[in-house]
């Protein structure tokens, strides 16, 4: 009776674990597929920041306004003469040199694919963690409660205290098949982990012995 319930419980847990792993694998594959077809944004640019044209043409007026000129050229041609003058050269009327000497040109590159993959990965990890957290908060106590109710006769209360640790050791489940063993081990690992987290929580949030 007790073992059956326990089994079911462990099975649920490990099933969910395996599901999570599958979902994760799928995400990774999708990400890799997506990453191939990405050329929407340029990854190179030459960026020139210049003061507004007025400051050169009409020197009495000082303005804090800046203009940026962005163009996709090889790094060797990332100069004001190539970038800015091709666009506004006709308005400058011979003051090109004064204007260009005050422009700040920089060649930059980036990798949008990496950014995309990382951001999507971060979103996925956070949402998985949140879903798992909600599961642990809402559903897990319900499942546990059912098991508790079913097994109160046998005096099975807290399957996570120290005494129970020895009885649920993987060695005691030798009789079961290979598959059961794997599931057991996963479930056992998870129980162990939960116990550790509970212990950490006790140390930090209740007893305040650490990490204050």
């Amino acid at each position: 009776m007790y073992r059956n319930n326990k089994e079911k419980h462990i099975f649920n847990e490990s099933f969910k674990n395996i599901m999570l792993k599958h979902i994760f694998a799928v995400i990774v594959i999708v990400l890799i597929c997506l990453s191939g077809s990405e050329a929407q944004y340029d990854d190179k640019r030459c960026k020139c920041i210049c003061p507004s044209l007025l400051s050169v043409i009409n020197t009495t007026q000082s303005s804090s306004e800046r203009k940026t000129y962005i163009i996709n050229v090889p790094p060797s041609e990332c100069k004001c003469e190539n970038v800015v003058l091709s666009k506004v050269g006709d308005q400058l009327k011979g003051k090109e040199e004064i204007f260009c000497s005050r422009c700040d040109c920089k060649y930059e590159n980036r990798n949008t694919t990496i950014i995309k993959i990382v951001v999507i990965l971060v979103i996925w990890v956070i949402s998985l963690l949140v879903i798992y957290m909600l599961f642990l908060i809402c559903l897990d106590p319900l499942l546990n409660k059912r098991i508790h109710k079913a097994s109160t006769n046998i005096g099975y209360h807290e399957h996570n205290n120290e005494d129970d640790d020895s009885s649920t050791a993987p060695g005691t489940f030798h009789a079961m098949g290979e598959r059961g063993n794997v599931l057991n081990r996963v479930g056992h690992q998870q129980d162990k982990w939960k116990r550790q987290v509970r212990e950490q929580r006790r140390n930090i949030y209740d007893r305040h012995t650490m990490l204050n």
């Binding site: 210049c50 940026t68 949008t112 956070i126 987290v197 305040h208």
Partner: protein
């Protein structure tokens, strides 16, 4: 009475301490000699017999030993006997490494490791591998693998640290900008990346049409009171969401992921075990929580926790190599290298990382570890640089390149900055410690998530109206470090400059109204950041301290810098400026002051010196600012040390009562070992005898006492010391023996001797010589505590035995030493926890 123990096996008492080192290096050839003796232990030990087969291999140590044997065998019976014993002593160390009892050599949670024992174990293992190397190809491969596994491990650690840092940097910068708006065409880009190829904008960035702020997403207008309120609300809502997620993930999955982690890493590296502190879940939750809490706009940085993350990676990878995974002392070499990689990626400063590991966190740092740290930091920095998370070809957002000279007179304001920095830092440490202590003892500690939410709301509500606190702290630091130029259009650079001059000469100019407004806003930001950081550091989310303290210092420095600049502009002919500033060019750079101020506050908070200066100049790529930075760091450290004793990390170690024996403090009291040792005057010392206790007696002793180890003596009457055995090993060995052999009952004798006993009782004896440490460090009761403390620090001891006239008197553990130090410093000795 005195003569008696000199006979028989107890001769080892005299011979072992002196010869220990010698026998350790030469035991192997002696095995061969004794192989044919009737020593039961050796017959049992299959491994040692196998090892004896290659007799003709001529190692130098073998030769040495044979010589020793030849000379000593001329002496009588006693010497031969003593040799037998020595051999056994050496073999007892090998068997520690052998796998016959699972779990031997590991430690329990919250225990101190025994560096001596672990290093001896590793030496044994190494010698065994070297010996096997000449046997077969497989042995050769194994030896080669062993030799490079350390480098391989730090290579992997470096690789993954770089990747983790890249993910955190990209994720955090994206999520930070999510508070302001979104890039609808490619939601994964942050604001700057979204406007990457947008043409013809004014540079303040407000009107890049691809980036939609939240009011734009919902209504069409951009300016005005309504959209401002929408932005404000969205800012607060996102901040709340991120902070609550971070706090609840930490609470749910890995409570150890909260805080900065550096005090704990320091404690762990000094030889303490905190199980799970460097585990996978801590790694995942710390990384994710860090992204979230940085994005929430809280006054915290991701640089300090990066060290913790790197150490988690180091710990996880060390399990791939049993050499490191199974040996706690060796594992700490990898962790030291990982800490270096952590700082390396946090600041893009590989050398600074190595020095940080050496100066601040590591306890045991041999040259080999230095080189590994160097390599690890290099790899990590290289990987992060290839990921290029900020698109600026550097691994930090606030990298600035300076090449302006500074004039000699400026050293005075730099030292002044150091002094102010030290004062601010002390203020911060005291206030933060007070608040943390209050949190620890009051009801506030029961509401960790609520606390995070309240602090987040306060930070967001007060911070949003001020543009300098609205932007992320890294961006603010970048702004403050930068020079005013054409590419910097902030009001901070609103000088009345003549635009007809050539661009490279940014001359001193009168400050416009924008600068004065900016100064006021910066003062407000300084106050807010200082106060909020005090409340933030120590909350139950991952939070670091480097960035907020750098920011405080940078604000302070920039204000002083602007002041100096205006002074030089208005009075260019005072003698102090007369030489450099007469031309009006390259005179005073406020950004440099910001940098020096940042170094000063960070130096005051953490009390770093060398590593701090190196980190700062690696950040700026300018070697010529070493002297100003050094002056400021030194001044700040002096002021800090004068006003308050400890840096923030040591203070937090003290607050939490971690068993950390600081090698910086000096022990100046005149107490003796006899005053400190346990047991005190009228208590009994719990010991084991070498051959007269039964299993039942031992089990009762284990049940009744809580000591972590027991000295083994010849007999209760003589009190002559034989060795030391750890409680954990004893437990494991007894359990193992009961499982393996049925005959062991409660009545079986526990033997710590060779077992050449003649009496044949019905229950066979339980032989535990393998787990006995025959070479414990001993001192006499008259040893001054100065020496004892030094021994604990330098040798990394876990305990030492106190003898008087050669008889065992008591034990001093690390905890006793820590309590004693606390007591003499008039602090509560009970605040030392664990162990």
């Amino acid at each position: 009475m005195e003569k008696f123990p000199l006979k028989g096996t107890t001769l080892s008492n005299n011979t072992i301490p002196q010869n220990h080192q010698h026998t350790l290096t030469t035991y192997q050839s002696v095995d061969t000699k004794v192989e044919n003796s009737d020593d039961v232990y050796f017959v049992d030990d299959a491994q040692s017999r196998k090892r004896n087969t290659p007799r003709d291999s001529n190692l130098s140590s073998d030769d040495d030993m044979l010589e020793v044997n030849n000379t000593s065998s001329h002496h009588g019976q006693n010497t031969v006997l003593s040799e037998h014993i020595r051999i056994d002593d050496a073999s007892s160390h090998i068997s520690v490494d052998s796998d016959d009892i699972p779990g031997i050599g590991q430690y329990d949670d919250f225990h101190t490791i025994d560096w001596q024992r672990d290093i001896a174990r590793d030496r044994m293992r190494h010698r065994y591998i070297v010996k096997k190397k000449h046997d077969s190809i497989w042995g050769l491969i194994k030896g080669a693998h062993d030799a490079w596994s350390g480098w391989l491990c730090v290579l992997l650690v470096g690789l993954f640290t770089g990747v983790a840092a890249g993910i955190i940097d990209i994720g955090a910068s994206w999520m930070t900008d999510l508070k302001f708006g979104i890039c609808p065409q490619a939601f994964w880009l942050n604001k700057e990346q979204c406007c990457w190829s947008y043409n013809e904008t004014t540079f303040d960035g407000g009107n890049c049409s691809q980036w939609w702020t939240w009011p734009e997403v919902f209504s069409q207008s951009k300016d005005g009171a309504g959209p401002y309120m929408i932005s404000y609300m969205f800012y607060i809502a996102w901040a709340l969401l991120f902070a609550s997620l971070s706090a609840s993930l930490v609470r749910m999955f890995a409570p150890y992921a909260c805080g900065s982690g550096i005090p704990e890493i320091k404690t762990i590296l000094s030889g303490f075990i905190i199980r799970g502190y460097l585990g996978k879940w801590t790694l995942i939750i710390k990384s994710v929580g860090l992204i979230l809490s940085v994005s929430a706009g809280l006054n915290l940085g991701k640089e300090g926790p990066m060290v913790h993350i790197a150490c988690c990676i180091g710990n996880i990878f060390s399990y791939l190599f049993p050499k490191y995974g199974r040996n706690e002392a060796k594992k700490r070499e990898i962790l030291s290298a990982a800490a270096a990689a952590g700082v390396s990626v946090a600041f893009g400063a590989p050398i600074g990382g190595v020095l940080f590991s050496l100066e601040e966190v590591s306890y045991y740092f041999p040259l080999k570890t230095l080189w590994r740290s160097f390599f690890c930091a290099l790899i990590a920095a290289f990987i992060l640089r290839s990921i290029n998370p900020f698109g600026n070809e550097h691994s930090v957002l606030f990298y600035v390149e300076y090449n302006k000279p500074w004039i000699f007179f400026e050293l005075i304001p730099f030292v002044m900055l150091g002094i102010i920095g030290g004062v601010i830092a002390t203020l911060f440490i005291k206030a933060n410690l007070f608040w943390c202590r209050y949190r620890k003892t009051s009801k506030l500690g029961q509401y960790p998530v609520t606390e995070v939410l309240i602090v987040t709301v306060a930070t967001a509500v007060i911070g949003y109206p001020n543009p300098y606190t609205r932007m992320s702290t890294s961006q603010l630091i970048y702004l403050l470090f930068r020079q005013c130029g054409v590419s910097n259009a902030d009001i901070l650079c609103d000088y009345n400059r003549n635009f007809t001059a050539v661009k490279s000469a940014i001359e001193v100019a009168a400050a416009g109204p924008g600068v004065y407004k900016a100064i006021w806003l910066l003062v407000l930001a300084l106050i807010l950041k200082l106060v909020m950081t005090i409340f933030t550091f120590g909350m139950k989310v991952p939070c670091g301290l480097f960035i907020p303290s750098l920011c405080l210092g940078a604000i302070m420095g920039r204000i002083v810098g602007i002041g100096m600049e205006q002074l030089a502009y208005n009075y260019p002919h005072i003698w102090i400026f007369s030489e450099a500033c007469s031309t009006g060019v390259d005179c005073i750079t406020p950004g440099l002051y910001a940098m020096v101020g940042a170094a000063a506050v960070l130096g005051g908070v953490t009390r770093m010196t060398v590593s701090l200066v190196v980190i700062m100049f690696e950040l700026t790529g300018g070697v010529r600012y070493i002297v100003p930075l050094m002056a400021a760091a030194m001044a700040s450290k002096w002021v800090g040390d004068a006003l308050g004793k400890q840096g923030i990390y040591d203070a937090h170690i003290g607050l939490n009562g971690y068993p950390f024996l600081d090698s910086k403090d000096e022990f100046q009291h005149t107490t003796l070992a006899a005053d400190v040792m346990q047991p005190k005057r009228n208590e009994a010392l719990h010991v084991l005898t070498q051959d007269s206790m039964t299993v039942e007696d031992v089990e009762n002793l284990l049940k009744e006492t809580e000591h972590n180890g027991f000295p083994v003596i010849v007999s209760k009457e003589s009190q002559y010391l034989v060795g030391f055995v750890l409680r954990r090993d004893l437990n494991l060995a007894i359990a193992n023996a009961k499982r393996m052999t049925e005959e062991i009952t409660g009545q079986s004798l526990v033997l710590f001797t060779n077992g050449n006993n003649t009496q044949s009782h019905s229950p066979p004896p339980l032989k535990l010589k393998k787990i006995l440490d025959m070479a414990p460090i001993t001192i006499t009761d008259q040893t001054p505590m100065e020496t004892v403390v030094d021994m604990f620090r330098k040798l990394g001891l876990r305990q030492t035995l106190v003898t008087h006239n050669g008889r065992l008197l008591g034990v001093i553990t690390k905890k006793d030493v820590l309590r004693h130090v606390k007591q003499l410093d008039n602090e509560d000795p009970n605040s030392v926890l664990f162990n």
